[in-house]
């Protein structure tokens, strides 16, 4: 097939340099951050030599350990809760006959993506304050798990719903036709075919919860420090490459999960 160069964006004048500038602006600061994690001296601005000692310092830092544990507990719990809720919501909004409120339901589930995070954070804070003062209920770290679960739902919902919409509903009917009860149809046909969508949902929900700062900062009680919060507290002290090393570890985990999400999403297409 002959390519028409006149409409191909790559052959427009200035495309190359513009693309390079965009990439540089996006990734240069991150590359600098990662580079100085390997700096031999205690400066984050003056390069003296290569070393991995700051990674060792970070990994043996007990506060960092505690924060990492909190983060894992919150993220894993929130991911499980959010993915289950999102799967149910996706089934409920696609595997039904067309009804009047369908678009409204879809919008309601996705709206938290548009709401400024600080507003979600402040409302979560006042909600838990109300819960504590009026009903004397304090779930401890459960508060954070609950808040994270809620804002992770739309992120998990999107890939699961997309997968369900791609799936042929006739397959469910074929299962029912072959004597499968609704539960068996779900277990043997719908769920296995939905797995790539659910896996993408899990990866997205985990990464969103893992990275969260704003909501956690407002809702977290004493001792409920997560990795992003811990790093933020370190920024206010004299900065050493230990911080860069921590950020690099976080970044690696994020990249790992995003890659998994993309890879699983592409499989079985």
């Amino acid at each position: 097939m002959a390519k028409d160069r006149s409409t191909d964006m790559r052959y427009q004048p200035g495309f190359g340099p513009l693309a390079m500038i965009c990439l540089a602006v996006l990734y240069a600061p991150i590359l600098v951050l990662v580079a100085f994690a390997f700096n031999a001296n205690a400066s984050v601005a003056q390069w003296t030599g290569f070393s991995t000692k700051w990674f060792a310092t970070a990994l043996f830092n007990e506060s960092f350990h505690a924060a990492a544990l909190n983060t894992m507990l919150i993220s894993v719990s929130a991911t499980i809760i959010a993915t289950m809720a999102a799967t149910a919501a996706a089934l409920g909004t696609t595997r039904v006959k067309a009804w009047r409120g369908q678009t409204a339901a879809f919008m309601t589930i996705n709206l938290p993506l548009m709401v400024p995070e600080i507003i979600t954070a402040v409302s979560a804070l006042s909600f838990f304050a109300l819960l504590g003062q009026v009903f004397n209920i304090n779930l401890g770290i459960g508060n954070l798990i609950l808040a994270h679960s809620v804002f992770c739902i739309p992120f998990a919902y999107m890939p699961i719903r997309a997968r369900l919409e791609d799936m042929d509903f006739t397959l469910d009917q074929a299962a029912a036709d072959l004597y499968a009860t609704p539960w068996m149809t779900f277990r043997r046909v719908t769920l296995p075919l939905l797995m790539p969508g659910i896996a993408s949902g899990i990866a997205l929900a985990f990464i969103v919860s893992f990275d969260d700062f704003t909501i956690t900062q407002l809702v977290a009680g004493p001792g409920q420090t997560t990795l992003p919060i811990y790093i933020w507290t370190q920024v206010r002290r004299p900065i050493t490459p230990e911080l860069n090393a921590m950020c690099t570890i976080l970044l690696s985990i994020s990249i790992l999960f995003i890659s998994l999400s993309v890879l699983i999403g592409q499989k079985r297409r």
Partner: protein, 367 residues
Amino acid sequence: MTVLESRQGLEIHHVGKVFSQPGRPDFRALDDVSIRIRPNEFFTLLGPSGCGKTTLLRMIAGFEHPSEGEIRLDGADISVKAPYERPVNTVFQSYALFPHLTVEDNISFGLEMLRRPKASIDETVTRMLALVRMTEMRNRKIQQISGGQQQRVALARALAPHPKLLLLDEPLSALDLKLRKEMQIELKRLQHETGITFIFVTHDQEEALTMSDRIAVMSAGRVQQIGSPRDIYDRPANRFAASFIGETNFVTVKLLTVSATSGELELPGGTVIHAGVPDGVKFSPGKATIVVRPEHAELVGAGAGNLAGTVTNIVYFGTDTHYHLRLKDESSFIVRRQNRHGLSFGPAIGDEVGVLIGEGVAQLVED
């Protein structure tokens, strides 16, 4: 017929279906449909798209429920039963094979859901694979086999639980012509070997004529005629049945006298002939319509026969030739003549000719 016999098979009893959607007017897909399908019959629902044939099939499978009437299987009302509670299996138009399972696991799915013992499942799957000639493909994934092979797996999957009814929703429409012809023969063989009642949905009249024991011709949500292929072709009940199946000529005539089986009528030229009356249809003397199949009319010289016309077009088909005529009353008429060796009479365009409609050839139809 004993009482017991009459309860066997599928009985569709005054079934109607209305679809309502918010913000749209109600749509009536089926109107007072009554059909009785005998055990071990190859029964076809034939009609154009939108005639309600697929809706009826989906109701027999349990994916839709009738708004009116009842569906009875061997005497028991199954109208409100869920699809998984009916001894009925479907071959879907898109096959709907499970893409995450192998050929074998697709075929054993229904048997597993019925909790048949493992040994019996293995035995049945092996037998089904042999029946559809797919033994070598047992462990393949669905994406690794061709469309025609998927068709066979879909058949094996639906036949494996040995249902009382096998429903086939235009299963051959996605295949190319050669494969379609092969599968038509294959389906007849499978029906014969398994002894299962097949209910086949199609819009292809030729497919219906060649495969079916009986056909229900449907249009606009109603059954127009039920009968054997020969009945429907030779004795169409009404104008729709006559025109949907095969080519046909309609001639407006004057009906003089009529009984339950035969009518005496006057053709446009003034000659009087007799025509058959389809079962159960009442006619009264006066203006009426008869059908004459193009191959049943005979071309004769001008002045002979019982209709007169002018040749307007001649279409050569190899095996036979179609002569398009304009009759005296300006209506058109087609005569189809087999191209036998040594035909002496060959009119040209513009020639005056006669048409002979022999005794027992014409059929009265409802308009």
